[in-house]
């Protein structure tokens, strides 16, 4: 979402700060539904959340610093090109494979995670009952931190990183992953919104409300489309969209801008 706001001429910092508020709105109902189904590992969620809040604090300060030296737009663009590029390619490959296999009439093979990784040898072990895990608290804290950092800088929820990381690195059961990550996202993005509002003054409440309304309406269409298309096809389309956005940002970075100069008000000064 953030790149689309930036394409429409909204300053990158405002796009990021406001997007955080919109993610709160779009994740809260899902989080509550998961909570009711008892799919949230509160202990794991709290560790992730602690990491997320730390990451968010660092991220918002980083945004402040980058804005002061005038490199924020550049940094956001590079971050998006990197992440969208990686995710788009991975999704494209995965969904292409799934579509091919579905055509050949085979059920998509689910990779069984192995039993021991380096992650499981770290100290500070904790027992996470809901996830049926006994692992170090460091990896979930670190994952939460990365998600909080990216959320603050890029205006994303971070589910796209947290979910695979929890499944493949922590071996959290899949049904718990979604609920727990939503739990963390709601609180971290809420915290990030408040922090952006106080530190950077880059939350536009009017824009946020418009985005929320748009999100609700868009979700209805999304559900309708989701019922017509197969999951693999949907992922394939999404991957294409992700790559398009990625290319659009990359294009902006490498082509010569129409005006080499830009002006902005001094951040932090009066």
């Amino acid at each position: 979402m953030t790149p689309l706001l930036i394409f429409n001429g909204i300053p990158a910092a405002v796009a990021v700060g406001t997007e955080a508020a919109q993610i709160v709105a779009s994740s809260v109902s899902g989080a509550i539904a998961q909570w009711r189904r008892n799919n949230v590992d509160i202990k794991m969620g709290t560790v992730l959340l602690a990491g997320g809040i730390f990451g968010s604090l660092v991220g918002v300060q980083l945004v402040k610093l980058l804005r002061q030296i005038g490199q924020f737009e550049f940094f956001v663009s590079v971050a998006y090109v990197t992440f969208l590029g990686i995710i788009g390619v991975l999704m494209l490959m995965e969904s292409a494979n799934a579509i091919r296999k579905a055509r050949q009439g085979k059920a998509p093979a689910v990779k069984r995670p192995g039993q021991h990784l380096w992650v499981h040898k770290l100290p500070l072990k904790m027992r996470f009952h809901r996830s049926k895990l006994y692992i170090s608290a460091i990896p979930p804290f670190a994952i939460g931190m990365v998600v909080g950092l990216l959320g603050a800088i890029m205006g994303v929820g971070g589910g796209f990183i947290m979910v695979p990381a929890m499944i493949y690195l922590l071996r959290v059961p899949t049904n718990i992953v979604v609920g727990t990550s939503l739990f963390q996202i709601v609180f971290v993005t809420a915290f990030t919104t408040v922090l952006h509002a106080t530190q950077n003054k880059t939350v536009d409440i009017v824009l946020a409300i418009i985005l929320m309304i748009g999100g609700v309406i868009g979700a209805q269409f999304g559900v309708a489309a989701g019922q017509k298309l197969k999951a693999e096809q949907l992922r394939f389309l999404l991957a294409g969209l992700v790559l398009l956005v990625c290319l659009r940002i990359a294009w902006g970075l490498v082509t010569m801008p129409s005006d080499l100069y830009s002006i902005s008000s001094v951040v932090g000064g009066r």
Partner: protein
């Protein structure tokens, strides 16, 4: 109809949250009003007529009293603006301001004789501004150079009866900060490091160019029209993105390239209504503002899911 009570509970929760939001806003409004109440007497009732000297070093403003000269009374200029205060609401889409005035003791026989020239400058509050230049680093365009200007007028409009170079000579223009080339832009101390005068010039030109592109720096070479022997008028379109703050209006009367008289007025641009409320809220109480935004987000999410579930069942 099995949705009823779960949905009702969800909706109730959302309504309670919204009510809490409304209360927060209510408190905010009350506080804002309380804060504003003691201030009004401090404001001069009539801002335009005899303006206290603007913060900017304005030209030597001569009082508009007719000076009894030996031969004939000297010409002086008086002017005013159509609206001394413009309210910028959330639906502000720009406005037009008319600057009008008269030349006292005008000696020109008709409006077309062109004995006098009028130049009107509207200048917004000086603000700090950073100009940056991109260059190509390893195939990627990235901001590499920057200069911070201490004070650049946020808005600048010049209207004149003729092109400025026909009205007078560059020296006079520079002395009075008339024209885009003479907009006062002071770089912050320490800019010297690695920046040549030529580069500084380029940056200053870029600032003017970008401001022109945003519609904030405007020039109309035939924007001022004499209506009679002494009466003149000009209209300026303030764009929707005009920075909020006072606009200083300077009116110069020229004859044969010499300034005969000047007059200053002021237009106040002020936020009003929801625009003012939100601006104050966001900048004076950022913590509450952030919490409020989150509360709205949460209630929006809850309402959406309640409505959505109902539609599905």
């Amino acid at each position: 109809m099995r949705f009823s009570w779960r949905v009702a509970r969800g909706l109730l929760g959302a309504v309670i949250l919204l009510a809490a939001c409304a209360m927060l806003v209510g408190i905010e409004i009350a506080e804002a009003q309380r804060r504003q109440q003691p201030t009004p007497p401090a404001r001069p009732p009539e801002a335009g007529r005899q303006p206290e000297r603007p913060a900017a070093p304005a030209p030597q403003a001569q009082p508009p009293q007719p000076v009894p000269a030996e031969a004939a009374p000297r010409e002086t200029v008086q002017a005013d603006v159509s609206s001394r205060s413009v309210s910028v609401t959330s639906s502000f889409t720009g406005t037009q301001i008319v600057v009008f005035g008269a030349v006292d003791h005008s000696r020109q026989p008709s409006a077309e004789s062109g004995l006098y020239d009028i130049v009107i400058v509207l200048e917004g509050t000086p603000t700090r501004l950073v100009a940056r230049r991109k260059s190509n680093v390893a195939g990627i365009w990235i901001n590499t150079h920057s200069i911070t200007f201490e004070s650049v007028p946020s808005y600048y409009a010049i209207l004149s009866t003729r092109p400025l170079d026909e009205v007078t000579n560059p020296l006079v223009l520079r002395e009075n900060d008339i024209g885009f080339e003479h907009v006062r832009m002071t770089p912050v101390q320490g800019w010297e490091t690695g920046v040549t005068t030529a580069e500084l010039q380029e940056f200053a030109e870029a600032v003017v160019r970008l401001k022109q592109k945003e519609g904030l720096y405007v020039q109309e070479e035939y924007g001022v029209v004499f209506i009679g022997r002494s009466l003149f008028r000009a209209s300026v379109d303030l764009p929707a993105n005009v920075p909020v703050g006072p606009l200083d209006v300077r009116v110069y009367l020229f004859r044969d390239g010499q300034i005969l008289s000047t007059y200053t007025a002021r237009v106040r641009l002020e936020r009003e209504g929801i625009e003012l409320l939100l601006h104050n809220f966001a900048f004076n109480q950022p913590l509450l503002y952030g919490l409020f935004t989150v509360a709205i987000a949460v209630s929006a999410g809850l309402i959406a899911s309640a409505v959505f579930k109902r539609g599905n069942s």
